[in-house]
Symmetry: C2
Subunit: 334 residues, 2 copies
């Protein structure tokens, strides 16, 4: 019997601007052996997230950057193959920060036991995972969505955006999305129930937003930054909340474009607030229960864009994310 | 006896960029007669405020712009000369939006009766007026200053900035200012008790801020915008509050420079919030009482930069404001 190999993707050098294939190294190692209190995970699904771009920069942030020659950091899901840990038994399924590789050893920190018989494993990385929780706490806690309000969400066809819009609809809000291209806009309105969606690639986004949202925006959930953020800032209602979840349009730029319309925060007595879902960890359980209920009732759809491949396909799949080619949560199934 | 004349300054045309003398017209009218429920104010002190620049733009904002050929809008203080109003008797003193002119007729809306025997009339336009209330509600309500925190205030030597820094010191905060030039910095530290002050005109503001505030900023009260706002955003602590009170560096620009470091709001789970003091009108009385107490105890100094002149000096005096030549509240005494 041949020894099992752990194929891995490591950071070879820090990208400048767009991430290039040459920024990655592919390594083969023996599958690691586990120690006391540890378990071995065979990874089946790797989550691809816009936040990954930030993890590659050698700059202070909310977590240390991925080191050169380290296995690329990634959320993933898989099955426990061996275990010296009382809470994670062989054959059970888990999600955690396992990295872009085929096997990971864990001591259980940050690992969640999940049940693929209730919802499929990719959904535990999507609506029932960090993605859905990000939408939930961003919209309800940071955004403080109230009855009868209007929600604007950019990156509407992305992983978090699709959930934000649906959660807002569940709460009875009017929901307008901003997405790239007519097909994504058609998809979020016809399939996901958004009231309207504007294509930022067409001219005159600000003018079109003004027409589409005559009553103004109460919660603007921004995943994009740049001109899209500015267009939304121009439509705020008095007391509006701008939730800063990401800025995918800016991550690959040398020089971030700041929101020129930020003084509308003063004119409209509005606030712009950033957040990290990890700060809400003590409430994950209750939120996930509520999200699971909506999924079971058919009120919420978890949208996954699953690429079948191997870990070697990670670099090309990540490029799809930054080109905006995914609809819903982008996942690499290996 | 010659008829009394009301000298006035009116907006002749909308300024492009910096305000020019040719943007104003000087008119002479008869002193108006009062009707039922009205009173006549002889204006003695005119308040000059950065917000005036915004009032000149023909763009939607929190109040309509000053119209072409209208008397320039301004807060002012004066004495009641004639009255058909039960609450405002002849010989009493008042503050209100009386405009850049020598006489104004009022029906009492937005007018406050003030007592110049407790504090001098200019102070009713400064620490005990809208300026001090702006500092108070911005720092305590929007900024939510808590015990043991560090406050950064830009425009530190300006009307609002001088009060913000002193109020924060009264509450025991560490206070660092940003001002233009070594003399202003010396003044706010030696005379007003700020712990430190950095001159934004010198190079490397971000680096120097980082050195001056090793523990980071909890409340950043920004009156300036542009590079100063960006430098402060780079020093935020987790959960920091950025209070957007103004952006004097940007008012005369065709194209506002947005804060490039706004994504630090996400990294630091911080918020940036705008406000208008008028929204707190129902609490003016209590706040003014508290401010008056600090003034009486000598804990707070109301700093006024008073120019002696006539209404014809308004255009040149306003230029001083936008050149940053004032220390404390700029007032034209006529």
């Amino acid at each position: 019997m041949t020894e099992a190999i752990n194929h891995q993707v490591r950071l070879a050098q820090r990208p400048k601007g767009d991430i290039q294939p040459s920024d990655w190294a592919h390594t083969d190692e023996s599958v690691p052996t586990i120690g006391d209190g540890q378990f071995l995970v065979r990874i089946s699904h790797i989550s691809l997230d816009p936040a990954m771009r930030g993890w590659l920069n050698d700059a202070p942030s909310y977590i240390p950057p991925v080191g050169i020659d380290e296995v690329m950091r990634a959320f993933a899901a898989g099955e426990v193959m061996e275990s010296n840990h009382p809470s994670f038994t062989v054959g059970s399924h888990v999600t955690g920060v396992f990295g872009v590789q085929e096997y990971a050893v864990s001591d259980g920190s940050g690992v969640l036991a999940v049940d693929p018989s209730t919802v499929p494993l990719p959904t535990w990385l999507s609506a029932l995972g960090i993605t859905g929780l990000t939408a939930y706490f961003g919209l309800f806690d940071v955004g403080a969505l109230a009855d009868g309000e209007t929600v604007l969400v950019s990156g509407a066809a992305g992983a978090v955006g699709t959930v934000v819009g649906q959660l807002a609809k569940i709460k009875g809000a009017r929901v307008v999305g901003i997405a790239g291209g007519p097909e994504k806009c058609r998809w979020v309105t016809e399939e996901l129930g958004f009231d309207d969606c504007l294509d930022y690639r067409q001219d005159g986004l600000s003018r079109r937003l003004h027409t589409a949202i005559p009553k103004g925006v109460d919660v603007f959930f921004d995943n994009v930054g740049g001109e899209v953020l500015d267009a939304g800032l121009a439509q705020l209602n008095r007391g509006a909340r701008v939730v800063i979840c990401g800025a995918i349009s800016q991550y690959n730029l040398d020089r971030v474009e700041g929101p020129r319309n930020y003084m509308n925060l003063l004119v409209k007595r509005a606030r712009m607030e950033g957040f990290l879902v990890f700060d809400f960890a003590d409430r994950y359980g209750d939120a996930a229960k509520e999200i699971a209920g909506w999924l079971a009732e058919g009120k919420l759809r978890s949208e996954e864009d699953i690429v079948q491949g191997t870990v070697a396909d990670f670099p090309a799949t990540l490029q799809r994310l930054f080109r905006g080619e995914n609809k819903g949560k982008l996942i690499l199934a290996i």
